[in-house]
Subunit: 343 residues, 2 copies
DNA sequence: TTGAAAGCGCTAACAA
DNA sequence: TTGTTAGCGCTTTCAA
């Protein structure tokens, strides 16, 4: 508290016997200073432990060196992988990242977005599913538009309803592939367990499931869709419900890995063997999926890359029409899926 | 681009026909404005989509509404859980979080710290092990000291060498407990697999192992310590090495869950049964530990709470002597540990 | 190559 | 209760 205040640019300038303008130029490595002076200023700054005030700088220069990142929940591996990718690129470029949770709640998301804008971040990366509720999306969209109009850059990951640049995982294709896989194994009584139907990611993945079903001539009514939170616990709840309501099922198609892990744990506690008694598939391929036992058949999304790509996109100037980068979703067949038992 | 610039406080004030001072007071909910005027100003601000400029505010007011968070790697569940806790509390208090990676590299950590300070965060939460290298710690410490002297607050999670407030998991106790557990099961040929010996967390946990060994009268030379990266892959490498160099081992004591998961996967691929042929224990109790098969015996650390606690501590004024909050480490016995096979 | 000075958008004395 | 005004620490013209 009593402590010496942090040295300011004036202090450095004074110590070096130059004006603040010169000191500023020297430290930011701009033109117009003799190398000798620049050297001296830098040395003095270093020795005094000078650290420039970003607030003053961005207020004066109108520039921003920070990026905003909105995730639903960072403890969810899907988002922590994305965040990791964003942070890697940010680290390389000397940008700081401001992260916040939306908690999958459009109201909170809106508030967080406003906070980021107040903090004058230069770019915003919004990760995670959008909402089917048009009212919710509208207010989010309005905020984002205002931001881009003021010169900000926005890139969305996994949501396509805004006219922003976007990194889009091939959710529909991936879901179609994993559904085909199950059908090819001979399953006819599949149950889908999923997070909130109000999320666009869920809608997209469900579309893929239905496409595969249609291809195989199976009416979609034959495949129950059980909704629960998009978490491990949700997976447990949904699996329990499936076991009770749809006892004839031979496969659980979870719309993310977390739910699949929950399913696996319920099945184990019921002594149902996977895949002999019941096949289970996930979606995302979180790092632990390969290490589960049985290892999880799932759809791989390159999450870290999605984060990296998103920030790289954001750092490039905006184009006339929004860019869309589709990230491939690839089926990873592992041990949790197999042919249905004969019944 | 061409866009209308974001409205500023003057614009609001003008629209409302009041001075900036009044507008400022009205919007920040401070005293000294009639409710009628305050109402009107707020309405106008809302309708114009006004969002205050944090840079200007903190430059003028000398206040900061953001907190810095340093983690080794956010994709690591240990850190993503901590981050989640920090973000929850920050969200409640309307603070924004600036997160950065240190990558377990003291040089990078130092740079990140400086960036946070440049961004004038009010508090810094440093999560993750410190370094045994005194030179590295010294420069970090110097930076942190300067920051606190300038009025900043620092809280460390899991590192105790700085004279800052700290949230400390009971690493030594936890390691002692899990080692005792293995010894009580009858294991005598235990191998420890661990991340870098240069990390204080590793040193602390190793101390716990050695204490338990000493209690049981087992010379520490009997227990090989295999060093590898503190990751799942590191766990694989280390386990492979153990299998080759110390074939008589009956238990793998991993110093974090990630490495334990790697060990599990190697053992499975070698068709060694856990725990019949080999027991495995972890440390941290990351969320997935309970869902592995076999479920992982480990030491639970309340990671989210640690994050929450850390920020709460940071938001309280500094005390004369640094506060230390010890978080309990509790042994969680699950299915990956059992008596050694008779040999 | 250097310096003086005008802001950036806001808060907080101080006056009225 | 309200307004005026002086900065906060920096960047950036414009002159020298």
């Amino acid at each position: 508290m009593t402590g010496a205040a942090a040295p300011r640019l004036v202090d450095i300038a004074q110590s070096a016997g130059v004006s603040v303008a010169t000191a500023s130029r020297a430290l930011s490595g701009r033109q117009g200073v003799s190398t000798a002076v620049a050297e001296r200023v830098k040395e003095i700054a270093e020795s005094l432990g000078y650290i420039g005030n970003v607030h003053a700088r961005s207020l004066a220069g109108g520039t921003s060196s920070s990026v905003g990142l909105v995730v639903h929940e960072v403890a969810d591996p899907y988002f922590s992988e994305i965040a990791s990718g964003v942070m890697r690129v940010a680290g390389q470029r000397g940008l700081s990242v401001q992260m916040c949770h939306s908690g999958r709640d459009p109201q909170i998301e809106l508030r967080q977005l406003r906070t980021l804008i107040a903090n004058r971040v230069g770019v915003i990366v919004v990760a995670g599913s959008g909402y089917l509720d048009p009212e919710a999306e509208r207010s989010i969209h309005r905020e984002l538009t205002r931001f881009t109009q003021a010169g900000g850059r926005v890139v969305a990951i996994g949501r396509h309803q805004h006219a922003t640049d976007a990194v889009l995982p091939a959710n529909t294709d991936g879901a179609q592939a994993v559904t085909r896989h199950l059908l090819a194994l001979g399953h006819r009584r599949v149950a889908v367990i999923t997070g909130s139907l109000g999320l666009t990611t869920v809608a997209d993945r469900l579309t893929g499931v239905h496409r595969a079903l249609a291809e195989a001539g199976i009416p979609r009514e034959d495949v129950p869709v059980i909704e629960a939170p998009f978490t491990r616990d949700g997976g447990r709840t949904a699996t329990l419900e499936m076991l009770g309501e749809h006892p004839g099922s031979t496969a659980v198609l979870a719309l993310n890995d977390d739910m699949a892990i929950g399913a696996l744990s319920v099945l184990r506690s019921r002594s149902l063997r996977v895949p002999e008694d019941m096949s289970v598939t996930g979606f995302d391929d979180v790092p632990v999926a390969a290490d589960l036992s049985p290892s999880l058949t799932t759809v791989r999304l390159p999450m870290q890359q999605m984060g990296e790509k998103a920030l790289e996109l954001a750092l490039r100037p905006a184009t006339k029409r929004p860019r869309r980068v589709v990230m491939p979703a690839t089926l990873v067949e592992r041990d949790s899926s197999g042919p249905p038992r004969r019944s």
